[in-house]
């Protein structure tokens, strides 16, 4: 026999010991931000390492946001680099041409935000064909969209055409990257475990059934695409101001492939998996740099082996306890117990 209340209390204790304390996340966040600011002000970490950390942050944003569509909603979007390109160009145009040079530092978050909003608008457009098309055909729609963005950017002379855009100052600093990364992880994690998030999951499991259960699938799809592309745009803005130079070729299908690899390396439908995937992929590529071109031979080989021996990726469909809400743990535990009871009862 069990009671929901005692289960809740044992789990609460369990969860507390694992996450340390109720204040774990706020303290962790403040410490991380303080560390990033210290690194930025006192420069005790060398610049190369700082740049790698910035890339890790950007890749985490990209991976987590793509995981919302590819992992949680179960669609196959291959155009994430396109959203990133829109964000990068909008943010860079604002800082280069619109904002006064004196107030760049103050207005930088605004530029990034504008980049995100620009990408979100485009994401809204891409969501519309996803009402009717699914699976491989939707993959083509997103792919075509990515190519169209690249092609349009190459044909507008005002943004530099194929030569690209430069003149951005190095405004992307470690604290900002930390802030945006934490924000994107927080928003998407809360979104996934909200009521809306259950709608997203139900679309992955069975779209028709979820429609019958009165999930407004169109609305859910639109919101998922808009949120995902918003964060891709933000990552693009940060990327542009870290590199201080962008051209359309940076955002081609290879970039999308990179993000896809990070998502599936970490595992679908898992926030912690996305973080692990992005960190491992980015850092491994840097560690293997002495191998030169052969690292690019080794990486895909490792990916193939990983997929053969662990087809769901590192954390596929699992979530670290840190990211799982208590409510979900309790529900799962109760469900397991009930199932056990039923199997025990039937001879």
């Amino acid at each position: 026999m069990f009671s929901a209340e005692s289960t809740y209390h044992t789990l609460l204790a369990h969860w507390r010991t694992l996450t340390g304390y109720k204040l774990f996340w706020p303290v962790f966040m403040m410490a991380g931000l303080a560390f990033c600011m210290a690194v930025d002000t006192f420069d005790f970490v060398d610049l190369y390492l700082q740049l790698i950390l910035i890339y890790v942050g950007i890749n985490i944003i990209l991976t987590v946001s793509l995981n919302l569509i590819n992992g949680y909603m179960g669609e196959f979007s291959v155009g994430h680099a396109g959203f990133m390109a829109v964000g990068a160009y909008v943010a860079s145009l604002l800082t280069v041409h619109a904002f006064p040079a004196s107030a760049q530092n103050m207005l930088f978050p605004l530029a990034i935000l504008a980049g995100g909003v620009g990408a979100a608008l485009v994401g809204f457009l891409v969501a519309i064909p996803s009402f009717k098309t699914r699976g491989d055909y939707l993959a083509i729609v997103t792919l075509a969209f990515c190519m169209i963005v690249k092609s349009v950017l190459e044909n507008i002379d005002a943004v530099g055409g194929p030569r690209g855009l430069l003149g951005m100052e190095k405004l992307t600093t470690l604290p900002w990257v930390f802030f945006w990364t934490a924000l994107s992880v927080w928003v998407i994690r809360n979104l996934v475990y909200s009521n809306f998030g259950r709608g997203v999951l139900s679309i992955r499991e069975d779209e028709i059934a979820s429609d019958l259960m009165s999930v407004n699938t169109r609305q859910v799809k639109i919101i998922a695409f808009v949120v995902s592309s918003f964060f891709a745009g933000i990552a693009g803005g940060l990327f542009a101001h870290a590199l201080q130079f962008i051209n359309p070729r940076m955002f081609d299908i290879l970039k999308s492939t990179d993000i896809l690899i990070m998502v599936y390396l970490g595992g679908i439908a898992s926030i912690s998996g996305s973080i692990i995937g992005a960190v491992i992929y980015t850092i491994l590529l840097e560690i293997l740099r002495p191998l030169g071109i052969w690292r690019m031979v080794l990486m895909p080989l490792m990916l193939v082996l990983l997929m053969i021996y662990r087809p769901r990726g590192i954390m596929g469909l699992k979530e670290a306890l840190l990211f799982t809400p208590l409510r979900d743990l309790v529900t799962e535990k109760l469900w397991r117990q009930k199932k056990k009871e039923v199997t025990d009862a039937t001879p």
């Binding site: 083509i140 044909n155 031979v297 895909p300 193939v304 087809p311």
Partner: protein, 291 residues
């Protein structure tokens, strides 16, 4: 008028190469419902085989073509055996990511061995006939005719032979077919061999038509061929041929009448419109979801 004919000829040439590659995508999809994203890179390997055979073995056109096709077909079977077969019962997306990984591996491996673009020596003496103001090169004719012949052979194999019947049966129902005494593994290997061989042939012809080859040439061509397969209705062999010629025609015509930088833009916008109007491709059948 002659200008249009000239461009139509170019469109046929490009379209037949696209169609040959698209066939590989669509055949594999039809049987395994898996998108073999490494296929564009098999096409690239075909061009490199052609380069190696033509430069180091100094063979003439026909043996070069046959050897390249054979080599790429073997590579396709090896890839299927070692990378895709262990994943046959895994989630579909894992197989797709594996295919992307195999593609990246082939690109970068070739890049590590051949860092600079290579020039394929002219294997055929190219004569140009002039009819009125129209100039027809023998190379174009050979590419078009050869691809058409290959497609007709493929169509015959799929529609009239026992192996082709087995292929169609597997794409119809994967669980019943092995009970009828068909060796599924053999048929899948055969499909990969045929698809990859056609891709290799396309690589050789592409190398003859546009002689500078580099390890990344397979990416764009591969994705475009995939688009052809989808436009025609993925899994449908005749659809892939039609899709290839449509995309070839659109690309050449856009480049002929607009600045050539608009080519990708117009081609992909047309694709988007087509997919919104007919989400299952030209020859594909709408598949109502069963509840």
């Amino acid at each position: 008028m002659a200008y249009i004919f000239q461009q139509a000829l170019n469109a046929l040439q490009l379209g037949s190469i696209y169609a040959l590659i698209a066939l590989g995508y669509t055949m594999v999809y039809g049987i395994l419902t898996m998108i073999n994203f490494a296929h564009g890179d098999l096409f690239m390997i075909g061009a490199f085989f052609c380069f190696i055979i033509a430069v180091y073995l100094k063979l003439s056109f026909v043996p070069t073509l046959l050897l390249s096709m054979l080599g790429v077909a073997c590579l396709g079977v090896i890839i299927e055996r070692f990378a895709y077969k262990p994943l046959r019962n895994a989630p579909r997306v894992s197989a797709i990511i594996t295919a992307l990984g195999v593609g990246l591996f082939l690109e970068n491996f070739t890049l590590a061995l051949a860092p600079y673009p290579k020039n394929i020596p002219p294997l055929l003496t190219n004569t140009t006939w002039t009819v009125g103001s129209l100039s027809i090169s023998s190379l174009q004719i050979i590419v078009i005719v050869l691809s058409l012949v290959l497609m007709l052979i493929l169509d015959f194999v799929v529609q009239r032979t026992k192996a082709g019947m087995a292929m169609r049966a597997i794409s119809w129902d994967k669980t019943i077919v092995p009970l009828m005494g068909v060796s599924v593994n053999k048929i899948i290997s055969l499909t990969f061999a045929i698809g990859a061989g056609l891709g290799g042939a396309a690589g050789v012809m592409y190398g003859l038509a546009y002689p500078v080859i580099d390890p990344y040439m397979g990416i764009m061509v591969g994705w475009k061929a995939f688009i052809c397969a989808v436009v025609g209705g993925i899994g449908n062999i005749r659809g892939a041929m039609i899709g290839g010629f449509i995309l070839g025609a659109v690309e050449i015509m856009v480049a002929a009448f607009f600045p050539s930088t608009y080519r990708d833009f117009v081609a992909f916008t047309l694709l988007l419109i087509l997919l919104i109007v007919r989400p299952y491709g030209i020859l594909g059948k709408p598949q109502p979801q069963k509840v």
